[in-house]
Symmetry: C2
Subunit: 340 residues, 2 copies
Amino acid sequence: MTVTDDLDLNLLLADTEEEILRVVANRDASTVGVYEMVRYHLGLDGSAGPRGKRMRPLLGLLAYASIAGDHQASLPGAAAVELGHNFSLVHDDIEDGDIERRHRPTLWAVHGIPQAINTGDLIFSLSRVALHRLSDLGFSDTKVLRLMRLYDETCVMLCEGQYIDIATSAQGEPMTVDLYFDMIGRKTAALISASIEAGALLATDDEDVIGHYRRFGWSLGLAFQLNDDLLGIWGVELQTGKVPTDIVRHKQTLPVLYAFEHATPADHARLTAIYKTDEPTDAEVAEVVAILERAGAADFTRSEAQRHRDQCLVELDGLSVIGPKAHEKLTGIIRSVISA
Amino acid sequence: MTVTDDLDLNLLLADTEEEILRVVANRDASTVGVYEMVRYHLGLDGSAGPRGKRMRPLLGLLAYASIAGDHQASLPGAAAVELGHNFSLVHDDIEDGDIERRHRPTLWAVHGIPQAINTGDLIFSLSRVALHRLSDLGFSDTKVLRLMRLYDETCVMLCEGQYIDIATSAQGEPMTVDLYFDMIGRKTAALISASIEAGALLATDDEDVIGHYRRFGWSLGLAFQLNDDLLGIWGVELQTGKVPTDIVRHKQTLPVLYAFEHATPADHARLTAIYKTDEPTDAEVAEVVAILERAGAADFTRSEAQRHRDQCLVELDGLSVIGPKAHEKLTGIIRSVISA
């Protein structure tokens, strides 16, 4: 790979995948099978299918390059966050009982729950191994250790968020809007924020700058999740590659939770009743959408997404270290986050 | 806790549990439930039941204290390996379908598979968080980072070993004795060896000394596992708190695998037939035991256990840094490993 200063996203993507492949390569004859499973889940098994957006590593590389001018040295960090994200996906798929991801059977659907749990654990372990290459690339021990502490605390938050998700899904009652924001902060914003903060702290010692990137990442993560919530109900197949199924699947996303708190008593009762129906009909799904819209849930969710998106732009504009090309690229990504 | 130079194992145990409790304490109101699950699994929820032997942390503390004279500064490492071991137990219990551990229901049996997978992930994450306190205690960044690299590579090995275990259990054919040694090296010896090596490398920069401890730990891990294999077939309830059930459960441990390779054709056929029976009778279990003994499996396993145990003693005797009290304590532990 050549050094780049034009921040070509396809090049960043190719470099990230090469870095990941280095970490998930076969190690010896008796364990080839588990590394094959790792690469299958990552979409790095040579199949032509879609692989995931690699949003987190790309953001980390861009954050680093926006200060340092080039992305190369931050590739181990990018590989680590993508592996960390994917370990959680492997386990989430088991926890949610999902049998398909990116148009392919999930790992547990192919190899069973025991191997999938263990392969997720291996991906988690390998995500740490990835980070150690930062030392080989010349980063100081202090820097690498600080990055690891950030990553370790982020993993704790991921699990805490997932705990809230599983616990509230198992309850009969919808969670509060406040708890929902608490949950998505841990489940989604934390890792996106950590990716971006990691890129920044590898590039600079300026704590003020690092803080801007961290807050930028946190707001971006929330905006991203809320946009996903909108797409899950009002999205069209073209945008997401899937029909909006959040209501059919009884997912507790912000629009639904907001409606539970703000609908009229009659709408609240219907919403409760339909959310207890195992397989709602198309008419019932349409009725829920109408209830959400009457309660102002779509407007609220969109305005919250926009508010966090705008906060990203504020944080970005507060940074003097970013070159014009990187600023343009990051602004473009931020604007593209809200598609719904 | 007071400083100790007499290496009282009960004191080491109490200090280790205090260190672990610091890491697994509640963090905030919305996540109390998951930390309660963590403490339940660890036996640190205030219940009076048995908690696990804490063998790994104790060995690490002893290794450190045998050079440094005191164990205090190595407590974060001890907490990390115990948490790492326990994350794997939480996941193993799901993978093996075990509903009981230490006379209590396993985590997944109480809270379901989704929460148990996620709680295991949290314990894994917390094991890394534990290590960062080494920095607060004054260890250099270089030292802490080296310890983390050792720990990360060890976790990879644990998962590789577990992969081999699950993959071979799913097959109809018994694995080879060679593959079995490969597997238990990764599954059992790696973490025990890493615990001891970690204790040593926190206490000294002498690579020769660190190497002795590492090899001592590896041999001890193998001896420990082989002793466990013996107990699983020839143990008595008094020693293990459980009746020997390895044959009933069709576990592929060394004695059985050795018999598959060395039994007479007639015995081999009977062994194969009984190992395919869902619920072998007491008479069939007794028949298997007789077949193993005729094939020399008990003698072979015991002599292998002794060979590795003796290797521990050789490594230990090669060390000039160990004080007499620590030497005595470690020798006692090594000798006690073979009880079968």
